[in-house]
Every structure is written in C-alpha cells, then in structure tokens.
Amino acid sequence: MRVKRTQAVLAAVAAAMALTLGACGGGSIQNAKQPAGGKDCGDLNMAVNPWVGYEANAYVVGYIAQTKLGCTVNYKDLDEQVSWKGFGNDTVDVVIENWGHPELQKKYMASKGGDGTAVDAGLTGNDGIIGWYVPPWMKDKYPDITDWHNLNKYASLFKTPESGDLGTFYDGDPGFVTNDEALVKNLNLNYKVVFTGSETALIEAFRKAEENKTPMIGYFYEPQWFMSEVPLVKVDLPKYTPGCDADPTKVACDYPPYPLNKVVSKDFADSGSPAYTLVKNFNWNNDNQNQVARWIAVDQMDPTDAAKKWVDANPDKVNAWLKGTGVTS
C-alpha cells in the first residue's frame, strides 16, 4: 500500500507546499515541515487482512492515527496467519478485526499458552455472526426454508452437478471458521459441502443466485457490505449453547456469536505510543463498518478517502477514541 502512504504524506505536507508555491512562483519542491502532532508516535504497522470490513476498520483507525497523531502508517496486505506471525518480529503492530482464531491464540497469546507476542486490545464493537444463508427471493417463495428441519424437504432444489443426488451447500474462504461438513453429517442433511475456496467466489455466487432467482444455500457472515446489496436470509440451525461445539466432529448446533476484537503485538502495547491508546479505544457498530465498507466496495472509493469521509462526519466518536492520547480533533 505504498501509494496510500505516499498520498498520505503528500496530504500531510500539502499546507507547506501551498505556502512555498506562492513564495517561489513555480512548482519547485520544498522540504516538508514536521507534521503537527508528530510526537512519540512513529510507525504504526497495520495489518490489512483480506476482507473489506477489515479494510474499513484499518483505514479509519489508520487515517486518525496519521492525521491526528502524526503517525507514519504502514498498511500491510497480509492474511491472518502471516499477520500474527509478524507480531513476533515487529513487522506487524495491529490486527484490527479478529474472528476468534483459537489456533492462533494458542500459538501467540501467553494467556492461552503461546509465546506471548500477541495481546488482546479489547472489542471492536462489531458483532460477528456466522451461519447458513439463502438469497432473499427464496425466503419469499419458501417461507419455511429458514428452519433447518425443512432443509431436507428442499434439498432437491439445490442439486448441482457438483453434488450428484444431494443438495449443494457452498462454503467460503478456507481461512474462516467452518463446521459445515460436520453439521451436514450430524444433522443428517442430504447435502454435500462444496468448497468455493474464496470469499469472491461465494459473493459472486450469491449475487448470481439472487439476480437469476436460482436456488442457493451457503455459509456467510455479518458484518459484511454485501448484505446491504443482497440482504441474505439466515437459516436457523439448532441453537448454540456454550460447549456444544467442543468436539469439532460432533458439532450439531449453530455457530457461536463472535464478538470481534483487536489484537496487538506485546511490544506495541508496551511502547506507550498514543496509537496504542487509539487502537484500544476504537469501538463502533456493524452499521458504521458496513457504511465505510460499502463506500470502498460498491462506490469504489479509495479506502483512505472513505475513512476521511466517515471521520469528518463523526467527530464525537473520533474524539472519544482520542481520549488519553493528548490530542483532540
């Protein structure tokens, strides 16, 4: 994301440029002045995990860190596994939206028996929901499809050449938590799980299913900007109770709620950087995230511009996040 950094630095010195341009009467290049709030912040290495909701969080926090705290924000496009690994050698400071990942916690969080390079930095305020979804037209035509008991009744609708006599159930990005193979087996459903292998594939499939009114059922999640384009309908699986998913091969209940949290490197948490205080304070709701994510994905705004638009419109929230950093907007 070098472009973004370049643009951001350019923005930071725009004022200085404007002054010197007038003075010199030409387009000559002058050195920048120290940005306004440039004390103690230094670099902020922000991992950008590969989904748009994450980008929304990352660029909003990054934009505030850059413009209000004077940090140099480095956005790094990495997936979860690589990001967490980066905590250990200070190449990554912040993962700004974490979906559980017990296997990574076990490896890197001291409280879970890991090496202690990762620490929790509180909730983002976003509630993650994972589940089984159908396109809205199906709910209209088959109102009882949202009860899992009726899924076998409709299985033949979902038949594709991928699943033979069974219904096709589409799974998404293999990085996301899934129990779907076990669920299909333990709930005795006449379905076969087909792995689309990426979020893009899943979204395009749902979009196409709604557009052409073809049957489809698959794994999906909220918060997700796509929901505002096609409001998928959740199918009710047997209710989640704590511990019902303890044995991954015997799961027969819905996914647990995922209160999404922030994870930072131990060194960053101990650094006393105002950016850490900002990250810790950061908290917003699913609508906020979907709004910014939609600007990025659907309106094709540059993530930094989308972040600026939201920050400018929500000074109260931003001020609350800046509490304790010594800076106010």
């Binding site: 200085a16 290049i29 596994q81 050449p161 991928e162 893009t200």
Partner: protein
C-alpha cells in the same frame, strides 16, 4: 473419396511400414487398458477410493505439520547460522529495495516527493533502452511507461519493475553460472534438474508462509518467492545454450590449446550470449507472473490492486491493473528480444554507424540529465499528472460488461456448465477417483508404459507411491481428472487455432497479441467474469486453466505447422491434395512433435492453475493448499497437497516427454523440436525464420 487415393501415397513415403503397425499396436493396447479399466470400475466403483473428508488430518499430515513447525521455530529463534544468513540476506535486499524506492516511488521525509519522478524515470528508462536495444524499442518503452501513469498505477508499476529487476538480477547472478556448470557436467545436470522441476511445479502458496516467516514480512520475502519460481528458466536455457554450441567450433578452439577459463570467456560465453539473453527474458516473464502471488504477502507492485479488485468484487479494478501488467510484460519481452538481436548485430556494425550511435547516446545522456534535474526539482516533472485518466473509463466499461454478463448471459452459460459437467467431467472423474485406488494406479502405470516406455513407467510408479503415502489419493485423482480434461480442451483449441494461424500470416498477426495478453494477464483477473458466467465449481476452475494454458499450446502448434518445409507442402499441392487433406495428411502428421510438446506444456500450465482452481470451487488438492495457507491447523495437509501436485506434475511431464521422444525418434529429429520450443518460449514471434 480422394482421401482414399492419397492416404497410401503418404504412407508409402514412410521408410518402415512396420513402424506404422507398431504405432497402431500401441493405440490398441491403450484402448484395451481403458476397456478393462471401465469394466472393473463398473463392478467395483466406490470401494477402496481412499476418500478423505476435507477437514480430516492424518498422521502423515501431522508429521509434516510438526516438521514445518520445527522449521518455523528454528527460524524465529534466530540462533542457527542459516537463519542468521537468511536474515542478513533479507536485510540486504530490503535496504537495496528501499533505497531504490526512495529514488523512484516513495518520498523520504522531509522531502515530500521521491528523488526522481515520472519525467526522470522515463528519460532514464529510454536511455537504457536505447543503449541496450536500439531506438526502435523506444517507440514501445516510452508509451508503455506513459500508459502506467495514465491507467492510474504509476507508483505500483514502478514498484513492480523494481521488484522484478532485483529478482532478475539475482536470478541471473546465480542462474547463469549454475547453467554453465550444468552445460559442462552430466552429474550436475542430474542433481540440479529435479530441484528445478520441484521449484517450477511446487505451488507457490505452499512456500509463501514459510518464506515470510524466514525472511520477514516485506519486499525481501516477495522477491525471494519470485526468485524460487523465476530462476529455473535462466539455468535451464543457459545450460541448453552451452550444450548446443557447434561441436566443430569447440574442437577447433580446444586444439588451439586454450585454458578452460579462456575457452569459457572467449568462446563459449560470446557464442551462447544470445541464448542466455533468451533465458533472462524467460526469467523476467516468470518473475512478472509472480506479481499477484507475491501480493498475498504484501509484495509491492501491481499485484496489490489486482487483489484489491478481487477482494472488493470489482472486476474493473483488477482488469485495469491487469492491463498494466500485460503492457509491462510485452514491453520487457520485446525489449529484451530486441537486445538479444542487437548483441549479434553489434559485432558486425561498421565504424561510421558506431560513431553515429555514440553521438546519439551522448545527446541522450545529456537530455536525461536535464530531465532528472527537472524531475528532482519541480513538482510537475515529479508527480505524474492526474489527467488524462484512462483507468476510470476503462474500469467503468468493464464493470458494465460484468453487469451485462450477470443479467443477460449467465443463465445460458450455466446450462453449458451443467451439461458439460454431467455428461463429460463427472464420468471421467468417477472412473479415476471412484475406482479402487489400486485399479486406477495399475491403469495409469500401464498407460505410462505404453505411451512412454520403461522410464516413464518407473517415474509413474514412484510418483503414484508418493501420492499414496501422502494420504490424498482421492483428491489427487479428482485434480488429475480436471487437469486431463482441461488439457484435452487445450489441445483441441491448439489444433484448431494453431492450424489456422500456422496456415495464414494474417490470422497469426491478429491472434498473437491476444495470446500474449492471455499468457501474461494474471489469472486472478479473469476469475470474476468466469464466476459470473459459470459459478464456483470444477468447470470454472477448468476454464481458468484453459485460458491460461491455451496460448502457449496454440503457439507451439502454429509454429509446428509453419515449420513443415515448403518443399513438402508444394510437393503435396502439386499432387493435387485439397486443403483438408493438406492439414490432416501432411501438416498435422509432420508437426506431430509440436503437438506432443503442446500437450506436455498444456498439462503443466493447467496443473500450475490448480491452486487458483481451489479458489474457484474446484476443491481437491488446490483447496487443500489454500486451506494450508489460510489456516494454521492445516499447514501439514497443505504441504502434503503441494507435494502431491509436484508428483502429479513430474509424472505427467515424464510420460509425455518420453512419449514425445519416442514419436520424435520415429519421425522428426528432436533437435527440430527443441529449436521450435526455443522460439515459442518467447511470447513474441521471432523475426520470420524460414524453414526447410
């Protein structure tokens, strides 16, 4: 009816009728194997298939996971000499890259802009091009650079050029000496070749994670990932260049009593120079093709906007960045090709011409200095102008096109997908994957023996044993099915389009740029449109594989058809053969070597798309590899899947290579094929070479 008359005539030209019979004997044997296989499948299907659920992990996978964890721990503890060496190397690459970035793309505080902006960069590129490849190449290079900016990706383009440049320099520094050594020693060749095979067939997703752990997140890891895939071509082609030096020259110089060192620097290197540049050209193309993959670990450059587009479901964004990559690939390919031609011309140039060139070069250097000065000091010459903006209109048009595909076309295409999968793909897959594993294994081994002989049988047995041991037999057979069916389509396309191109220069001129673009456009770019058309499934993954593999196969066949000597064609014409007979009785049989080579390359190119297939709904091995990259609990299984892909690749390569050699022995000389192969390696057509 005339076909009946001319067929025996064609046959009579062949030296041995016995050979023809033998040829048919092999076909009959193949037929028999398949019939018996189908018969056994009919009664035993579904038994002993070794199917494994997508989330299961076996002991073998656990062992691989432990091994990988051990390496990871060793890498992060930082105690061993190896790890220290890796860190030093990574630091060195990172500092070189950062230094270059501060010059060209990223400002260093307190300077608000990079040291040299667009004007200086273009002037510098033009000067280097003029010096290395001549003024004609400027007509390509300067507009290409301008296009990077107008498309809106100036910084990403230059970053990608820097990454590619560093990777190519290191590849050449390591690869050329290694290639020279291989060219001289059979032992070295025997040791290095399997390593190169492994480097080229191992899906990069398998080593993305370990590399970014060992070398840290940053440009260095991206460059090293690129190196692994991009170094083999320059090694292989350099070795090939040394091996094929004319024996007469070598003997003559040996008799003059030169030392080995003299012989290397005075004779071998100058003579093999042009081939070595072809090797560098190929390494450069391979490095560019890694741009998108490297972006998965934050590799700088145009891969990032391609992935951004994919992540955000924006077809247009990916496409525009993809175009910039295609432009860059074509620019680098044509320029290095021109440079290699120039290497030969330079030695023959006369004095007056040399003086003129020196003068022009001097003037160019002064102009470049002026541009550098302006670019360093003035904003207008540093920051690329934001208009004209070509990127946005193209992006919007492409997005509209995507919408049109979704609303108006996709229900039609879905029925194509359904029919093909049900009538063709599923039965073939059932035969391979639902037969008991030992039946499938025996059948493949027999086919290998019939097509490629004992050596192919040996390789096949070893590879199949490996796949069995890795516990992913069933998924391997599903993947193998997709690869075989996709290759069949590729070969079909190659014959149809290749013959058409081979017979007409005009068609060749029109079609070839599209093939170049298909070969260099990152496959991730065309994933979204084929999702729209066909949805996520095995068919979609196959289509992606076909789009990627068809260009090279088509070019091989086209060049093979053109390679048929004009005398033969004229002789056939004078004896009254019509167009159809010409193709089927003369041109296709005469270019059988190219056809087999096209099959071989088609297989390997399709196989290299297995991982992308895994992201497109194909499941099987490709999915396991992505799973291993995305989820740390499945690293071991991902590794097993990666090795299974390598084993499949080596098996298919050996069967077809030995098969092609057999066919070649009975027909054209193998040298003819290698020559043709070398020409097709270029994405560009070489200047017209006359055959015969």
């Amino acid at each position: 009816m005339t076909a009946v008359v001319t067929a025996p005539r064609a046959a009579r030209h062949r030296p041995a009728v016995v050979e023809m019979v033998l040829e048919h004997a092999r076909l009959w044997a193949l037929f028999l194997v398949v019939v018996v296989w189908v018969a056994i499948w009919a009664v035993t299907q579904g038994q002993h298939t070794l199917a494994l659920s997508a989330s299961a992990i076996t002991d073998t996978h656990r062992q691989l996971q432990d091994a990988s964890n051990w390496v990871e721990d060793a890498a992060s503890s930082g105690s061993s000499a190896w790890v220290n060496a890796a860190n030093t190397f990574a630091d060195w690459i990172n500092s070189v890259f950062e230094w270059l970035q501060h010059i060209f793309t990223v400002p260093e505080f307190p300077r608000p802009l990079p040291q040299i902006g667009w004007l200086g960069t273009i002037a510098l590129a033009a000067l280097v091009t003029f010096a290395a490849a001549g003024w004609r190449s400027l007509l390509l290079v300067v507009p290409s650079f301008l296009a990077f900016g107008f498309l809106g990706y100036w910084t990403d383009s230059i970053d990608l050029l820097l990454v590619t440049g560093i990777a190519v320099v290191i590849s050449a520094a390591v690869g050329i000496p290694l290639g020279l050594w291989m060219g001289h020693s059979k032992v070295v060749t025997a040791i290095v070749t399997p390593v190169l095979d492994f480097m080229q067939t191992m899906p990069s997703f398998v080593y993305l994670l370990p590399i970014s752990i060992l070398f840290g997140i940053g440009a260095a890891a991206a460059i090293i990932v690129t190196l692994i895939y991009a170094t083999p071509p320059v090694v292989r082609i350099t070795a090939h260049g040394i091996r094929t030096l004319p024996a007469g020259v070598m003997e003559a110089t040996a008799s003059m009593g030169q030392s080995r060192r003299q012989r290397l620097t005075k004779v071998e290197l100058p003579l093999a120079k042009r081939t070595i540049i072809v090797g560098i050209n190929q390494t450069m193309m391979a490095a560019l093709s890694m741009a998108t993959i490297a972006a998965f670990i934050d590799g700088p450059g145009l891969g990032q906007p391609v992935l951004d587009g994919l992540k955000r479901g924006q077809l247009g964004t990916s496409f525009v960045a993809g175009i910039a990559i295609v432009i860059m690939a074509i620019m680098l390919d044509r320029t290095t090709t021109a440079a290699s031609v120039r290497v030969e011309q330079a030695s023959r140039a006369d004095k007056a011409h040399t003086a003129l060139r020196r003068g022009a070069l001097g003037a160019g250097a002064i102009g470049t200095l002026v541009a550098l000065y302006l670019s360093h000091n003035y904003v207008w010459a540093n920051e690329f102008p934001s208009s004209p903006d070509l990127g946005t209109p193209i992006r919007d048009k492409v997005d509209q096109f995507g919408q049109w595909l979704l609303t108006d076309v996709s229900s039609l295409t879905t029925s194509i997908e359904t029919n093909f999968t049900e009538k063709f793909l599923n039965p073939v897959q059932s035969l391979l994957a639902d037969s008991p594993w030992f039946v499938t294994a025996t059948a493949i081994a027999l086919i290998a023996a019939i097509v490629g002989g004992m050596r192919a049988l040996l390789f096949t047995a070893v590879c199949l044993a490996g796949i069995y041991y890795l516990d992913l037999w069933n998924f391997s057979m599903v993947t193998l099915t997709s690869v075989l069916v996709a290759t069949a389509i590729v070969v079909l396309l190659a014959v149809v389009v290749g013959v058409w191109m081979g017979r007409s220069r005009v068609v060749d001129r029109i079609v070839r740029p599209f093939l170049d673009a298909g070969q260099t456009m990152p496959p991730f770019v065309f994933l979204i449109p084929i999702f729209i058309l066909f949805g996520p499934n095995r068919f979609t993954a196959m289509v992606a594989g076909v789009i990627y593999a068809a260009p090279v196969a088509i070019k091989l066949v086209a060049d093979g058809i053109r390679g048929v000597s004009t005398e033969t064609v004229e002789a056939a014409e004078s004896s009254g053969t019509n167009k159809w007979q010409m193709i089927t009785k003369v041109q296709l049989p005469m270019s059988r070597g190219s056809l087999l080579l096209a099959t071989n390359q088609g297989l390997l190119y399709v196989l290299s798309m297995v991982v992308i297939g895994g992201m497109a709904g194909a499941g099987a091995l490709g999915f396991d590899i992505v799973h291993g990259f995305r989820n740390s609990s499945y690293v071991g299984r991902g590794l097993a899947a990666g090795i299974s892909v390598v084993l499949l690749g080596i098996m298919l390569d050996r069967i077809t290579t030995y098969g092609a050699q057999r066919a070649a022995r009975s027909q054209a000389s193998s040298e003819g094929i290698t020559a043709r192969w070398r020409r097709v390696l270029h994405i560009a057509p070489p200047p017209q070479v006359s055959h015969g």
